[in-house]
């Protein structure tokens, strides 16, 4: 029951992009086509779950034991940066086809604040490891959902006549605002 609660909250109610404002850069940057958006969403899901597990274990078994919680930011960002590189190398060897699909997005993920944000939130909310994994997975799905919907909207937007000054970023932001408003409808869900 608890897991279902975490999943629904992370995907719909506190959607990581539209409600928490994490990962806005890829949200605006790689949302021009549905196919690239889906690739990015896949890469984020993959890295987010692994990063959450590794940072959680480091927090509990190193930082808490030694009492150096203030090193959290530095440690986490280093772990995530190293992890992204590692995932890239392993993926290249083990599954070249998956690497082909996700490859270009992996380096961009290091500076995706959603990854670091979810890792820190898992610690702050005092989840256990299993809850943390579920939370990371659901957050990543929420990210993917928002990204793919937004990419679909932007593909249609290309065919519309938009006022001259509104072209590009301004209209994209306004559409994102309306999408966020639609997601607010979920707020009564839990």
């Amino acid at each position: 029951m608890n897991y279902i609660f975490i999943i629904i909250t992370a995907i719909f109610v506190n959607n990581i992009v539209l409600n928490q404002f994490l990962g806005i850069c890829p949200f605006l940057g790689v949302s021009k086509k549905i196919s690239t958006a889906a690739g990015m969403a896949g890469a984020v899901t993959f890295v987010m779950v692994i990063a959450t597990i590794v940072t959680y274990l480091i927090q509990k078994s190193v930082l808490d034991v030694l009492g150096i919680g203030f090193m959290q930011t530095i440690t986490f960002i280093l772990v995530i940066a190293a992890l992204v590189q590692l995932v890239e190398i392993i993926l290249k060897k083990v599954s070249p086809s998956l690497y082909q699909a996700l490859g270009v997005f992996l380096p961009l993920i290091t500076t995706n604040c959603a990854i670091l944000g979810v890792a820190i939130m898992t610690i702050q909310k005092e989840y256990n490891l299993m809850e943390g994994v579920v939370f990371a997975m659901a957050s990543a799905i929420g990210f993917g959902l928002a990204l793919v919907i937004f990419a679909g909207l932007r593909e249609h937007l290309d065919l519309m006549t938009v006022p001259k000054g509104m072209k590009g970023v301004p209209i994209a932001l306004v559409v994102a605002g309306i999408l966020a408003m639609a997601f607010m409808g979920f707020s009564g869900l839990v």
Partner: protein, 194 residues
Amino acid sequence: MDNVKNFTKGLIKENPVFALLLGMCPTLGVTTSAENGLGMGLATTFVLVMANIVISAVKNGIPDKVRIPAFIIIIASFVTVVELTMQAYLPSLFASLGLFIPLIVVNCIVLGRAEAFASKNNVISSAIDGLGMGLGFSLALTLLGAVREFLGSGKVFGLQIYDTNYGMLVFVLAPGAFLVLGYLILVINRFKKA
């Protein structure tokens, strides 16, 4: 002369938010009020200036291949300094900015300036570049925060302008951030062309 240009370009022409669209997460996330926007802007400015100074000072000692991880460690150290200082002296601001303080590490502006400017220039012009970019960022955040606070709750910097009951709550909530930023960029583009 060059230093004057380094300083002013961050304010308007290459403003990180309105022109370069960097650092969107804190821009949208914390600007529920002008005060929060200003606080976040100044925290980022401090990190930008200090990181630019240190990186430009040690740039010759860093091998090219590991420069990005090295930059990230330097930036993360200063973010930790800001985090601990703010927690000690400004606990209420720290509480309202919350998660976004550690997230300064992954703010594209900081790493972007380190890579694009501090790794190629001397200490003084890097410091000035950081200051200009940081103040441009603060300006954008404060403006966005003030507009959202005014429309949403009838206040600016906590000062009551009109009755809160007439405010449009949506502008303080998540959708308002996207809408206000979209229209602000529209207005700024209009003035830039003229």
